[in-house]
């Protein structure tokens, strides 16, 4: 029994003791981040790596074949691909700045209103964001009815103009989709701008008033520079969204007429689900991702700035 009281002389530490201690200290932390990490690995990283590999293959569910850069080579020699890039760029250039301007103007006027009216307009203008893109596209499809009885044709008919084939002519279809974007989806931008406008210290305007600054000077020297981070955010997210425009094209024009509305996102869909060419679709997806990254980096480089109040 005495031997039980004799304490063993501590030997050399077990090789895993540091690991055990690590688990003891940080185990819970790792357990908590495990779920999002697993979700990221399974639903983001694995598909991205898989799609990247697929872009070098002639995909087949049973026996894919490694074809090197053939998908990329085909894509860069395909006229439809370049048309889709051109359409996507036109759509982006034609919608993002205009939409930011519309959003800013609306927010600027709403900001001058009483709180109750601000709430009313914020809610009203945010409503389209609640409706699904599919619903909005189908409503616009009816608005762009090509016959004289179509709503948009009736509106222009009031000014004595002939009915227009909004989605049926190569030179008008893409503009019609852009018009659709001008007349909706400003809600979230307005809310961001209003929040940013509310955050500009009043003392700056008071100081400007003391210096007898004009309205334009106050806008150009105070309001606009201090809203730059919000504008940058809207520009970056707007460009990303515009580069991925798909729902309206798919539901309203299917890329036609004569590829006038074929965007890169629609081309990817077509390659994958019309032609079952998943390898080519993956290659196109990586080019789209590259373009978005490139444009975003340029935007951050040239438009971002540190704002200090």
């Amino acid at each position: 029994m005495k031997t039980n009281n004799v304490r063993a002389i501590p030997g050399p530490k077990a090789p895993h003791s540091r690991f055990v201690q690590f688990w003891k200290d940080y185990g819970w932390a790792y357990l908590f981040i495990l779920a999002p990490v697993l979700l990221f690995l399974i639903f983001t990283l694995y598909p991205v790596v898989s799609a990247f590999l697929m872009s070098f293959q002639k995909y087949n569910v049973l026996h894919s074949k490694w074809i090197g850069f053939d998908n990329y080579a085909y894509m860069f020699t395909d006229n439809v691909f370049w048309k889709s890039i051109k359409n996507t760029v036109i759509f982006t250039v034609g919608t993002v700045p205009v939409n930011i301007a519309i959003t800013f103007i609306l927010a600027f006027f709403i900001f001058q209103m009483k709180q109750s009216w601000q709430t009313f307009f914020k809610a009203s203008l945010y409503l389209p964001a609640v409706a699904s893109g599919v619903t909005i596209s189908l409503v616009w499809l009816a608005i762009f009815d090509p016959t004289a009885s179509g709503l948009m044709n009736r509106v222009i008919g009031l000014f004595g103009l002939d009915p227009v084939l909004w989605l049926g002519q190569s030179n008008k279809a893409l503009f019609s989709l852009m018009l659709m974007s001008y007349l909706g989806a400003h809600g979230s931008g307005i809310i961001l701008y209003l929040a940013a406008m509310g955050g500009i210290p009043k003392s700056l305007y008071e100081a400007a008033d003391i210096d007898h600054a004009s309205g334009w000077t106050k806008f150009s020297k105070i309001t606009w520079p201090l809203l730059k981070p919000t504008t940058l955010y809207l520009a970056v997210t707007g460009v990303i969204t515009s580069f991925q425009v798909f729902i309206s094209v798919y539901l309203m024009t299917q890329g036609g007429p004569n590829f006038a509305t074929t965007t890169i996102a629609y081309l990817i869909y077509e390659a994958a689900f019309v032609f079952y060419d998943f390898g080519l679709a993956s290659a196109q997806s990586f080019v789209l991702a590259g373009l978005i990254i490139l444009v975003s980096v340029i935007q951050f480089k040239y438009f971002s700035s540190d704002i200090e109040y």
Binding site: V20, W23, K24, G27, L31, L34, L38, I42, Y46, Y59, N60, V61, L62, H63, V80, L141, F144, D145, P146, T147, P163, L165, W166, L167, G168, Q169, S170, Q254, G256, P257, N258, F259, E270, F273, V274, F275, Y276, F278
Partner: protein, 463 residues
């Protein structure tokens, strides 16, 4: 220490579960029977056959329930799990499942070379008995073949024609019975169109014909009626390189220029064209299937019941007019639709394949002829014709022309060529035919320029 052990164990379990979930799908357990005992002793190992189908006609779900119940009386061990997809979203769902290696065992649709190219379409030739083959009317089984192999069984043969409002035909003095009997030429149609086009008392225009311009269905019908079976022939040779394609495009262009079809046709969607036909704004609707007979009869009932407002229509099925150079009745565009068999990635269960075929035969047998009957189409099997003898839902005036249209069905070239050529043909249709057809309808290209572009690109892609 105890906690850490549990933590490590939990992490390992999570990783193993994830790895298993991401791994290959387990193969279904092997059945006792092999292929050698076919026809000797029935394997009664429980099995499940998955079917994805569509609302083929308004009451199709009742049909399939009854067909499965009958099947289960004989094969109680085979469970048939069916799902009725929507026409709008079903094809996408199937495409994703197929390309992920996990299609249903049976899918309802038209035969397509892309299915075969995945390697998952299942040939059923070895299960087809002579009795089954002989039950099908000549040519009907071919609509579900690809590259000489049978992959499915048709439930019916779709027929794309033109459909007319009888009142307007009568007012214009058009002898539709003669057209139904003998067919008609483009020139005869153009003569009739002069009488059918007019300004209505309310100021709106009544067109002789309305079609949608958002798909190339109309181009398909007109080129077939010009004697061109497709852009390529059965041997895979490009054939849109002679005067026939110029004539076909010239005919389409004339329809727009002369106001026989609306000038907005390029932007008219299928639903809009139906609305215009129902509103009496067009005498004839293109891509009209004999089922319009039932649809319009139902609409007439709704008008009587006050549920719908509008003019009641008496429907007349017409064939598509053909080029003067084509003799006889002219060609009809259409093809078979029915159940196609598939296997899944990694699956190799012979008994399951046999069971899949048994279910296919049950869903395509004599009683399944109700689909053709409901759709006012001629039956594809003798047993179906017998089963529904004297119960035909089609009007006598229209079933006769439907039979003639089926007898003059243009061959489906895309089913007789190899997989690569079929893929190129599909690409040609989507990326060349469609934009050129739309440019022609929009007046952005002349028929000659359109034909030249079709020819040049066709010779590059389909040589």
């Amino acid at each position: 220490m105890k906690f850490n052990k549990w933590l490590t164990l939990a992490l390992v379990l999570v990783f193993v579960t994830v790895a298993a979930a991401c791994g290959k799908q387990a193969e279904p357990p092997a059945n006792q029977a092999d292929g050698s005992n076919a026809g000797q002793q029935q394997d009664t190992t429980p099995d499940t056959v998955k079917v994805w189908t569509y609302p083929v006609h308004a009451a199709y779900e009742n049909d399939i329930k009854e067909l499965i119940a009958d099947f289960n009386k004989k094969y109680p061990h085979i469970k048939v799990e069916y799902e009725i997809l929507s026409w709008a979203e079903g094809p996408k769902k199937f495409d994703v499942a197929l390309n992920a290696g996990n299609p249903p065992d049976l899918y309802f649709g038209g035969m397509n070379g892309q299915y075969v190219s995945t390697g998952l379409a299942m040939p059923i030739d070895s299960y087809m008995t002579d009795e089954i083959k002989n039950d099908f009317l000549p040519g009907t089984l071919d609509t579900m073949k690809f590259g000489g192999k049978q992959y499915g069984m048709p439930l019916y043969q779709s027929l794309w024609g033109w459909g007319a409002n009888k009142r307007i035909l009568d007012e214009a003095g058009i002898d539709y019975k003669k057209i139904q009997e003998n067919g008609w030429t483009w020139d005869e149609f153009l003569d009739a169109a002069k009488k059918l086009s007019k300004t209505l008392p309310n100021g709106t225009q009544q067109y002789a014909l309305v079609t949608d311009g958002t798909s190339i269905d109309f181009l398909d019908m007109i080129t077939r009626s010009a004697g061109l079976v497709d852009a390529i022939d059965e041997k895979g040779n490009f054939i849109w390189n002679d005067n026939r394609i110029v004539e076909a495009l010239g005919f389409i262009s004339k329809l727009v220029k002369d106001g026989i079809i609306p000038k907005e046709t390029v932007a008219i969607a299928p639903q809009k064209r139906t609305e215009m036909f129902y509103a009496g704004q067009a005498a004839i609707i293109s891509k009209a299937i004999p089922y319009y007979d039932v649809m319009i009869a139902n609409r007439n009932k709704d008008i009587d019941a006050g549920k719908v407002q509008g003019e009641k229509i008496e429907y007349i099925q017409l064939p598509v007019p053909h080029a003067p150079s084509v003799q006889g009745f002219g060609y009809t565009t259409g093809g078979g639709e029915g159940y196609i068999a598939f296997t899944q990635k990694g699956a190799n269960n012979e008994q399951h394949k046999k069971n899949t075929f048994l279910v296919m035969e049950a869903l395509s047998g004599a009683k399944a002829g109700n689909s053709a009957n409901e759709l006012c189409l001629p039956f594809v099997r003798k047993s179906q014709a017998k089963e529904f003898e004297g119960k035909s839902l089609a009007k006598e005036i229209n079933i006769g022309v439907a039979k003639k249209m089926r007898e003059n069905l243009a061959p489906q070239v895309a089913l007789s060529i190899d997989v690569d050529k079929a893929a190129k043909l599909k690409q040609y249709r989507e990326q060349v035919e469609k934009p050129i057809f739309q440019a022609l309808l929009a007046g952005e290209k002349t028929p000659e320029a359109a034909a030249e572009e079709l020819k040049n690109k066709g010779q590059q892609m389909l040589r």
